[in-house]
C-alpha cells in the first residue's frame, strides 16, 4: 500500500467530515459555537482516531511482521540462527530491493516472499482499521451534534493538547540526549576512575587496539583540556567584551539612526559566518602573523597557538555581546536618562552611572551566553589551536580543548566500547554541565534584577 495514497485518503476523509459539519451547522439559528468550529470539530474527531490507528504502523514491524516471519523461518526449517536480527535485516533489504536476491539460498528467498505477503496483509489490515476508526469517529461526532454542542471548547482542547505535545517533543529529546550521554559516561567511568578523569594532568587517549601493537595504554586526565578550554575562552572574552560592549554603547547611545540601521545588521552578519571559515582564517592568517610578530621580538611561538584561536574566537563572539547588550541598553527607559541629564550630568556620566548599571543584569547574561558559546566552539580550535594536550598558561603554546578532543576521539576507525571513544561522552557531559551551569547563572542574574526599573 502506497503511503501517499493512505495520506491522501486520510486527508480527504477529514476534509469531507469537516465540510459536512460546517454545512449542517451553517443554517442553524442560535448555534452555540460558530459553524467553523463545528466543521473543525467534525474534521478533528475523524482525523485523530485515524492518526492513532495509523501509529500502529510504527510498531507493526517489531510486533507482528518480524515474529511471524522469523518463527516461520526457524520453525519450518528446523534451524537456529546465530544472529536473527542480521538475517531479518537481510530479508527486509532484499524485499525492498536494496540488495539483490540471494540466488543460492532458497530458504532466505522463501522467507522474503513470506515477508512480502505478511507485510502486505498487515498494511491493508491497518489501513482498513484506520478507515473504520475514522468512520467511528464520524459517527460519534454526528450523533452528538446538537445546537448546543460546545464545538469551540472541544476544538480548543484538542489544539491545546497538540501544542503541549509539540513542546513535549522538545523536552523529551533533550532528556533523551542527556540520558544517552549519562549512560555512556557511566560506561567510561567503569573503565577509567572518576578522579583520574577530573584531576589527572596527562591526556593521551591513544589505545593499542591489538595486543601486539606498539602504543600507549591511554591516559585520561582531562585537566589539560579544561585548562586549554578556559585559556582560549578567556582570550576570546578579553577580545569580545571590550569591543562588544563599546560597540553596543556606541550603537545605542551615540550612533545616528542612519548609522545604526546599517551597522547593527552588519555586526550580526559576523555571527552568520560559518565557524569553519573563522577556523581557516585563524589557522592560515592569524597564526602565521603571530609567529612572525613573535619572531620579530625574539620570542618563539608555536604555529598553532591558543592566542590565534582565542583572538579569532573573540571576533566571532563580538556580535553576541554587542547585539544582546545593545538590546538591553536600548531597553533602559529614556526617563532615567532624562532624569540624569536634567541633574546636569553629562552624557558620559549618564551612561556610566545610570544606564549601564541599570542594564547590568542583561549585559551579564549576554556575557555569560557569549562565554558558554566560546567554551562550546569547536571548529576554530580544531584548526588553529592544535591537538597537543599541554597544560600551560602561555598563550603562544599549542593547547587543546574539550570540544577539539571530542572530535579527534571520534574521528577515524574506533570500536565503540574502547575508553578512547567513551571518553568523548564523558567530555561531552562535562561540557554540557559547564554550559548548563553558566546558563542557569545567567538566568538567575536576569531574574533577580528583572524589576530593576519600575
Amino acid at each position: 500500500m502506497n503511503s501517499i495514497v493512505i495520506l491522501i485518503t486520510a486527508i480527504c476523509l477529514t476534509l469531507m467530515s469537516g465540510f459536512f459539519g460546517w454545512q449542517r451547522s451553517k443554517n442553524i439559528h442560535n448555534l452555540r459555537s460558530r459553524p467553523i468550529y463545528h466543521g473543525m470539530n467534525h474534521g478533528l474527531k475523524v482525523a485523530l482516531p485515524m492518526m492513532m490507528t495509523a501509529s500502529i504502523w510504527l510498531i507493526s514491524d517489531n510486533l507482528i511482521i518480524k515474529p511471524t516471519v522469523m518463527s516461520d523461518l526457524t520453525h519450518n526449517n528446523q534451524i537456529t540462527l546465530a544472529d536473527p536480527d542480521f538475517h531479518y535485516l537481510q530479508i527486509v533489504q532484499i524485499a525492498d530491493g536494496l540488495i539483490k536476491e540471494n540466488a543460492f539460498n532458497a530458504t532466505i528467498n522463501k522467507a522474503v516472499e513470506h515477508y512480502r505477503v505478511t507485510k502486505q496483509n498487515t498494511d491493508s489490515a491497518i489501513f482498513w482499521m484506520m478507515i473504520i476508526a475514522g468512520l467511528l469517529g464520524f459517527r460519534g461526532v454526528t450523533k452528538k451534534f446538537h445546537r448546543n454542542t460546545p464545538a469551540r471548547e472541544q476544538v480548543e482542547r484538542i489544539i491545546k493538547l497538540l501544542l503541549a505535545a509539540s513542546s513535549g517533543v522538545a523536552v523529551l529529546t533533550t532528556a533523551g540526549i542527556v540520558l544517552a550521554l549519562l549512560f555512556e559516561t557511566l560506561r567510561f567511568f567503569n573503565q577509567v576512575p572518576f578522579t583520574e578523569f577530573l584531576f589527572g594532568t596527562h591526556w593521551s587517549p591513544q589505545m593499542a587496539i591489538r595486543a601486539d601493537q606498539v602504543g600507549s595504554s591511554g591516559a585520561f586526565g582531562a585537566l589539560p583540556l579544561f585548562a586549554g578550554t578556559l585559556l582560549i575562552a578567556l582570550i576570546a572574552m578579553a577580545v569580545a567584551v571590550p569591543v562588544g560592549l563599546y560597540s553596543a554603547i556606541y550603537l545605542s547611545e551615540y550612533a545616528q539612526p542612519k548609522i545604526r540601521v546599517v551597522a547593527k545588521p552588519a555586526l550580526e552578519i559576523l555571527a552568520g559566518i560559518p565557524t569553519v571559515v573563522y577556523g581557516f582564517f585563524a589557522a592560515l592568517t592569524v597564526a602565521p602573523l603571530i609567529v612572525d610578530l613573535c619572531e620579530h621580538f625574539g620570542i618563539s611561538a608555536s604555529s598553532e597557538s591558543a592566542l590565534a584561536a582565542g583572538l579569532v574566537m573573540g571576533v566571532m563572539i563580538i556580535p553576541f555581546v554587542s547585539s544582546l547588550s545593545e538590546d538591553v541598553i536600548s531597553a533602559v527607559p529614556q526617563s532615567l536618562r532624562d532624569g540624569s541629564l536634567a541633574m546636569g550630568a553629562t552624557k558620559a556620566e549618564t551612561i556610566v552611572k545610570v544606564v549601564l548599571p541599570s542594564a547590568l543584569p542583561g549585559i551579564v547574561s549576554a556575557l555569560l551566553l557569549a562565554f558558554s558559546r566560546a567554551i562550546g566552539e569547536t571548529m576554530i580550535v580544531v584548526m588553529a589551536a592544535g591537538l597537543a594536550a599541554n597544560m600551560t598558561a602561555n598563550p603562544l603554546e599549542s593547547v587543546t580543548t574539550i570540544t577539539a578532543q571530542i572530535v579527534t576521539t571520534l574521528v577515524g576507525d574506533q570500536s565503540f566500547d574502547s575508553p578512547k571513544t567513551l571518553s568523548a561522552f564523558a567530555l561531552g557531559l562535562t561540557l554540557f554541565c559547564f554550559t548548563l551551569m553558566l546558563n542557569i547563572i545567567a538566568l538567575r542574574v536576569v531574574r533577580k534584577y528583572r524589576e530593576q526599573y519600575a
Binding site: G339, L341, M343, G344, A345, S358
Partner: protein, 256 residues
C-alpha cells in the same frame, strides 16, 4: 501678591519646530522669583514642550529647532557660551512619572552632589542628602532604609524622592512636568504642600492638567492653547476673570 518680584527667567517670542511642524508660536512669559508659575492647557498644547525648552531638554530630541530668546538672570541660555551641563545644574526638573534610578535612596539623592563635586567629604555628603530628604518631607519616612533600593518606595514617595534629588544640587529654578499625574490624591496633597514650602527658596514652574491644582498652588498662571500662550496673569485673575474667551471656555470646562 508679590507683583514686583524680579523675573528670574524670561522667554521672548519663543518658537519651537519639530522638523517642519511648529509646536510653539511666539511664546513670551516672565517667570518671577520665588513664585510658583502654573502652565495649564489641553493635551498637546505645547506646555510641556515649553517647559523642556527652559532647561534645554529639547536638545536631546533630533530635528528640534528653537528660535527666540530665553534668559536666566538676563543671560541667554541658548548662547553658544553657555554650557548645557552648568545650565541644568541651575534649573532642576521633576518629571511626570517618578524616575528614581535603580540605586539606593541615598545614592539617588547623592547622585547630583557627587557628579558636581559639591561635598567635601563623606559627612558633608550625608548632610546634603539628609537636608534634601528633609526639605522634601521624606526623611522621617525613609531614614531607616536609606541604603535600600529607591524602587521599593511607593509612587508618591518616589516622586518626592525625585524632588529631593532635584533640590539636592540647589537649583535656582525647579521645573515640574505634571508631577502629580501618576499619584493618588493623598500623595498629590503631600507634593503640593511640599511645593508651598519650597517656594520660599526656589522658583517653581509647574505644568499641570488639574486646574484645581493650578489654582491651589500657583501665584501666576499661563494658559496654553494650540501652541500659543493665550493668556498669562495672576492666578486669581486667570481663574476668576479671564480676558480671553478661550481661557474662559477652558476653565469653565467647555472644552479640553
Amino acid at each position: 501678591m508679590n507683583n514686583n518680584a524680579n523675573p528670574v527667567m524670561r522667554a521672548d517670542s519663543v518658537n519651537v519646530f519639530y522638523g517642519k511642524t511648529q509646536a510653539l508660536h511666539d511664546v513670551s512669559i516672565d517667570i518671577k522669583q520665588q513664585q510658583i508659575t502654573a502652565l495649564i492647557g489641553p493635551s498637546g498644547c505645547g506646555k510641556s514642550t515649553f517647559l523642556r525648552c527652559l532647561n534645554r531638554m529639547n536638545d536631546v530630541i533630533e530635528n528640534c529647532t528653537i528660535t527666540g530668546q530665553i534668559t536666566l538672570n538676563k543671560e541667554d541660555i541658548y548662547a553658544p557660551s553657555v554650557d548645557i551641563v552648568a545650565l541644568r545644574r541651575k534649573i532642576g526638573m521633576v518629571f511626570q512619572k517618578p524616575n528614581p534610578f535603580p540605586k539606593s535612596i541615598f545614592d539617588n539623592i547623592a547622585y547630583g552632589p557627587r557628579i558636581h563635586g559639591m561635598a567635601k567629604d563623606k559627612d558633608d555628603l550625608e548632610e546634603i542628602v539628609t537636608n534634601s530628604l528633609d526639605k522634601a518631607g521624606l526623611f522621617n519616612e525613609v531614614k531607616d532604609r536609606l541604603h535600600n533600593s529607591a524602587l521599593g518606595l511607593s509612587g508618591g514617595q518616589q516622586q518626592r524622592l525625585c524632588i529631593a534629588r532635584a533640590i539636592a544640587i540647589n537649583p535656582e529654578v525647579l521645573l515640574m512636568d505634571e508631577p502629580c499625574s501618576a499619584l493618588d490624591p493623598i500623595a498629590t496633597n503631600h507634593v503640593e504642600e511640599l511645593m508651598w514650602e519650597l517656594k520660599a527658596n526656589y522658583t517653581i514652574i509647574i505644568v499641570t492638567h488639574s486646574m484645581q491644582q493650578a489654582a491651589r498652588v500657583s501665584q501666576q498662571t499661563g494658559f496654553f492653547h494650540m501652541g500659543s500662550l493665550v493668556e498669562v496673569g495672576r492666578t486669581e485673575q486667570i481663574f476668576q476673570n479671564p480676558v480671553d474667551k478661550r481661557t474662559r471656555d477652558y476653565i469653565t470646562g467647555r472644552f479640553g
